[in-house]
Each structure stands twice: as structure tokens, then as C-alpha cells.
């Protein structure tokens, strides 16, 4: 039996090794913290349907290995992603310093229009914090990113992070800023009540006068 949804978005979870990318994904999908989670080798994949602005949106999430060495492989999965969670660890300055590189990769390889949400993970480890909320907000603002601090361990803000990013994409589709029909948009229509756009897209392809 297949799930019902209006849209399908391709999402990436990227950022340095050990920032908790897989745990965020696990917490989002299973609603629990994955104890004894191993570091990701290559790429893993998960999906979930979430309600966003009155629409059902299926998020197809690609969780990548964080070590620089594997970028040549993991980057091949970036193509056509509509959204990304860019993750750093609030207790590790080096993971914050690496953000600019990850962001440049996402924008150049996935899509210049990719909607990125900055995630400061491990917010439960307040006593070990090395990156303040304020400086991360500033980085987000300068780079036109949304921003949330999360804890994959407690679950705080995890669903919100994915939903907020998805919501921004839905808003951009509705305002016409994003065209789901553009190749490599990372957006597909689902099997629910086709919108006006998708209906015209379906006929558009076979209609010679539109070519």
C-alpha cells in the first residue's frame, strides 16, 4: 500500500562527522534517540510524510557520511535536492567553522535555490557549549539560512527543523518562486488531489502547442 501525499521533497542532511546527522534523522522518523548509533558509511536513507501548511509532504531524506574524504561519493547524491539540514555541533567549534564549505557544496551541487536550514545540534549539552546561539544566528542571517538549535537526544526541535524547512519550500512553491516542474527541483507531485500546477504540468508535456 502506498502512502498518500501532495508533494515529495528530496532532502539532504549534511555537516561534519559526529555532529549527530543520523541521530537527527532517526529521531525524526522513529521519534526516539538512537543509542549506540554507528557512524554512517556512505549514504543512508529515510522517508516520512509530514503535514505542512495543510499539505501532506513526503520527505525523502539522504543522510551522508561526514568525513571530508568521502565527499566525492556523497556529493553524487546532492543533485536535485530541494532542501537541506546543515548540521553543526554546538559543543564543537570546528564543526561550526566548516559550515561555509558544506553550504557552498550544497548550493553548487544540489541547486542554487536549495532551501537550507542551519541546525545547531546537541543543545542538551549546555555546559560544553562552544558556539553561542547569537553567533550562529548571525551566520544564518548572513547566508540567508533559517536556523534552529536541536537536540536529537531529547527530541527538542527535531520535527520542527524538518517541518520548517519543508514549509519554506511549500511557501516558495505557492508564491511561484520555486517551480516544481523545473528539472532538478527536487520536488515531485504526489498522488493526492492534484493541484492546478500539477494538472497543467501533466497535460503540458503532451500538448504540442505548449512546446
Amino acid at each position: 500500500m502506498s502512502e498518500s501525499y501532495d508533494y515529495l521533497f528530496k532532502f539532504l542532511v549534511i555537516g561534519s562527522a559526529g555532529t549527530g546527522k543520523s541521530c537527527l534523522l532517526h529521531q525524526f522518523i522513529e521519534s526516539k534517540f538512537k543509542e549506540d548509533s554507528s557512524h554512517t558509511i556512505g549514504v543512508e536513507f529515510g522517508s516520512k510524510v509530514v503535514p505542512v501548511s495543510g499539505k501532506q509532504v513526503k520527505l525523502q531524506i539522504w543522510d551522508t557520511a561526514g568525513q571530508e574524504r568521502f565527499k566525492s561519493v556523497t556529493r553524487s547524491y546532492y543533485r536535485g535536492a530541494a532542501g537541506a539540514l546543515l548540521v553543526y555541533d554546538v559543543t564543537r567549534r570546528d564543526s561550526f567553522n566548516a559550515l561555509a564549505n558544506w553550504l557552498a557544496d550544497a548550493r553548487s551541487l544540489a541547486s542554487p535555490n536549495i532551501v537550507v536550514l542551519l541546525v545547531g545540534n546537541k543543545s542538551d549539552l549546555e555546559s560544553q557549549r562552544e558556539v553561542t546561539f547569537l553567533e550562529a544566528s548571525r551566520f544564518a542571517q548572513e547566508n540567508e539560512l533559517m536556523f534552529l538549535e536541536t537536540s536529537a537526544k531529547s527530541g527538542q526541535n527535531v520535527v520542527e527543523a524538518f517541518s520548517k524547512c519543508a514549509k519554506a519550500i511549500v511557501t516558495k512553491i505557492e508564491s511561484g518562486e520555486l517551480d516544481p516542474d523545473r528539472i532538478g527541483s527536487g520536488i515531485q507531485y504526489g498522488n493526492l488531489k492534484p493541484t492546478r500546477n500539477s494538472a497543467s504540468a501533466a497535460t503540458g508535456r503532451s500538448c504540442p502547442c505548449k512546446v
Binding site: S38, G42, S47, Q67, V73
Partner: protein, 359 residues
């Protein structure tokens, strides 16, 4: 088709009174057929992983081991004697140290051997990886290495022996971890080439569904199936691979055996990139070890019997004599050009010629 593991009795028949090991080929044959009795692994892995050469007598082996223990201690002292200031100015070292410590804390923690906080075995894992970084600084530490080390450390249960066995394993698999990932990419190409021969329908399906690069096999190859099998299974699988029998790159045929077993699932529901990756990752801990080893060997025997018809790349990969047959060379060219199956009659005949049955 699989045999019993190398037993103590058989091992004793290979071990001479002076400590040297003889009739290596038949020894490796037995290991290839059935792995090694667990009681013997502590001794035999040292030979399989080139820590101890088979030709050494008792005295020489003891002397070599003494020297190796000392060398390990030297390597340990090197990284342990970095001053804080020195570390502060040495970002490469610092980054590696930090990544090792992160990964040590998340390697096989579900195993009793590594479970719990302040487990001393985690320190050993850390010490060996730090020492390996000093031993091979050009390579350093790359994720996946701790997966390769973990079963070795559990078996050896002491740092210097585990370190040198790990060095032997890394000597074989180092390419997987190199900077440009050329070896990984080459293996994926070789895998695609073999799959095209052994299961053209599946290969074509994958090509048509954004998966022709077989990147979904990346984890299998990088850590040699460590994440896909239980510890008991992985020890046997690695022992089989370490024998080098029946051919070089047998692990690629092992990959194809799994893909071939899962072909219907992979091609079901018009699966694309994401479903294929999700399915392949979900196979972890649900793969029949012996069935796959048998299947992989059967594939090798079929390819060997038809070696003269194979493309050059396949022959080179599996250590088969390269055919000078022009049609095979032509086939190879077409494979390189298009990376999809040629489908004229001649090639259909070729596919039929090497199609095989296992039962």
C-alpha cells in the same frame, strides 16, 4: 559445497615441530572452504594477515613478535608525547585525533566487548588507531577503519598483536581509504563490468534507474561487509577473502551474489535510486553467508570456463588470462563507451553462453 572449518588436528598437520608451517596451499584451501575453528583464530590470523610469515620457526617468530611489540610501543609514545602547544599548532593531527575519539565511541558498542562507559577496550581501540595514524601518517585515520579493527581487537584481546594484524589487513585494503577514492571507484567500475556479464538485465535496469554507478554498494566494499553481517559471519567471510582464493577480487563476486539474490526486490515497483539504496541498506544482518559464498564461487567457475569470451576488464579483475579474441575486445570497447549492454544477436548468444544455474 562449503566445508568444515580448519580444525586443530589439521592445523597440527601443517605445523612442523620447529614451528614453521608447511603445505600452505592446502591450508588456504581448507580455510577458503570452511573458515577457521574459533580456537585457532588467534594463531592463524597472524599468519593470514602477514604479521608472522609461515616460514618462521619458533625462535624466529618469538623474536619477530618481541620486536613488533617494541615498535608498537614506540609508535604509542610518539602520539602520547605531543605537548598541548604542539597539538594546538598541528591541525591535521588534532582533527584526526578528534575524529578517532568520536568514532571509537560509536564502534560496535552493542557488542559486550565494547559496551558501557569507561570500557578499557575503547582505550585499546583508540590507542591502536592513533598508533596506526603515526605508522601511516600519509593515510592517517579514515572512517571505516575502526570497523575493520574491531573484530581483530576482540579476537587478539591485546594491543600490539591486534595492531600488527590490523596493519596486515590495512595493507590489503588501504586503497579503499585513499584520498581520491580511486580504488573505490575502480572497484565499482569492475563490479559494474562483472554485473553486466553475469546479470545484464539487472545491470540494464540499474543503468536506467540512476543507479548504474552502483554507489549503493559503497558500504559493502569500503568495510568489506562488516556492517552487513554478525561478528561470527564476518570473521569467516574475511578469512575466506584473505586466502586470495579462488581468484583476486572474489569480494566483487560476493557482491554480485547478493545483488543477484535480491534482483527481484531491487527491480520491483519500478524502484529508483532511493528505494534501491534503502533496500540494499536494509539487507544488513539478513544475508545468508554460506549461500552467498557458494554462489560467488559458482559464478567464478562459470566465468573461468568462459574466460576466452570475457571482456578484458573482467579477466584482469579476476586474474584470468586475457583473451586475444577480437570480439571480446570489441565487447570491452562497447562497454567502456556506453556502459550499457549491447543487445544484438551475437551478444545475446554471449550472454546465454555464460548464463549459469546454481541448483
Amino acid at each position: 559445497m562449503r566445508g568444515p572449518p580448519l580444525s586443530v588436528e589439521e592445523w597440527m598437520r601443517h605445523a612442523n615441530d620447529d614451528g614453521t608451517i608447511s603445505r600452505i596451499e592446502s591450508l588456504l584451501q581448507t580455510i577458503f572452504r570452511g573458515g577457521i575453528d574459533h580456537a585457532l583464530r588467534y594463531d592463524v590470523w597472524k599468519y593470514l594477515l602477514n604479521y608472522l610469515p609461515f616460514r618462521l620457526n619458533h625462535t624466529e617468530a618469538a623474536e619477530l613478535r618481541r620486536m613488533k611489540i617494541k615498535e608498537y610501543q614506540t609508535l604509542c609514545q610518539q602520539w602520547q608525547s605531543f605537548t598541548p602547544g604542539q597539538e594546538e599548532r598541528f591541525s591535521l593531527f588534532r582533527d584526526r585525533k578528534s575524529l578517532i575519539s568520536k568514532d571509537v565511541n560509536r564502534t560496535d558498542r552493542t557488542f559486550e566487548y565494547f559496551a558501557g562507559d569507561r570500557n578499557p577496550h575503547l582505550d585499546s581501540l583508540n590507542n591502536i588507531l592513533m598508533s596506526y595514524m603515526m605508522y601511516n601518517f600519509d593515510l592517517g585515520y579514515v572512517q571505516g577503519m575502526s570497523d575493520l579493527l574491531s573484530p581483530i581487537l576482540m579476537l587478539m584481546d591485546n594491543e600490539p598483536d591486534a595492531f600488527w594484524c590490523f596493519v596486515g589487513f590495512m595493507d590489503r585494503t588501504m586503497g579503499n581509504f585513499m584520498m581520491e577514492q580511486t580504488s573505490m571507484k575502480e572497484q565499482l567500475l569492475q563490479l559494474a563490468c562483472l554485473l553486466q556479464i553475469l546479470d545484464p538485465e539487472l545491470a540494464n535496469y540499474l543503468n536506467a534507474h540512476e543507479s548504474g554507478n552502483l554507489f549503493f554498494c559503497f558500504r559493502w566494499l569500503l568495510v568489506l561487509f562488516k556492517r552487513e553481517f554478525s561478528n561470527e559471519d564476518i570473521m569467516i567471510i574475511w578469512e575466506v577473502f584473505w586466502t586470495g582464493l579462488p581468484c583476486p577480487n572474489f569480494h566483487l563476486l560476493f557482491c554480485i551474489a547478493i545483488l543477484e539474490t535480491e534482483r527481484e526486490q531491487i527491480m520491483a515497483n519500478d524502484n529508483g535510486l532511493s528505494d534501491i539504496l534503502a533496500h540494499v541498506n536494509s539487507l544488513s544482518m539478513n544475508i545468508d553467508r554460506d549461500a552467498m559464498l557458494c554462489k560467488a564461487e559458482a559464478m567464478y567457475l562459470q566465468l573461468q570456463a568462459n574466460a576466452e569470451k570475457l571482456p578484458k576488464m573482467a579477466c584482469l579483475t579476476l586474474g584470468l588470462a586475457v583473451s586475444v579474441d577480437a570480439s571480446a575486445a570489441e565487447q570491452e570497447e562497447r562497454f567502456k563507451d556506453t556502459h550499457v549492454t549491447p543487445s544484438d544477436d551475437e551478444d545475446d548468444a554471449f550472454e546465454k553462453a555464460i548464463s549459469y544455474s546454481f541448483l
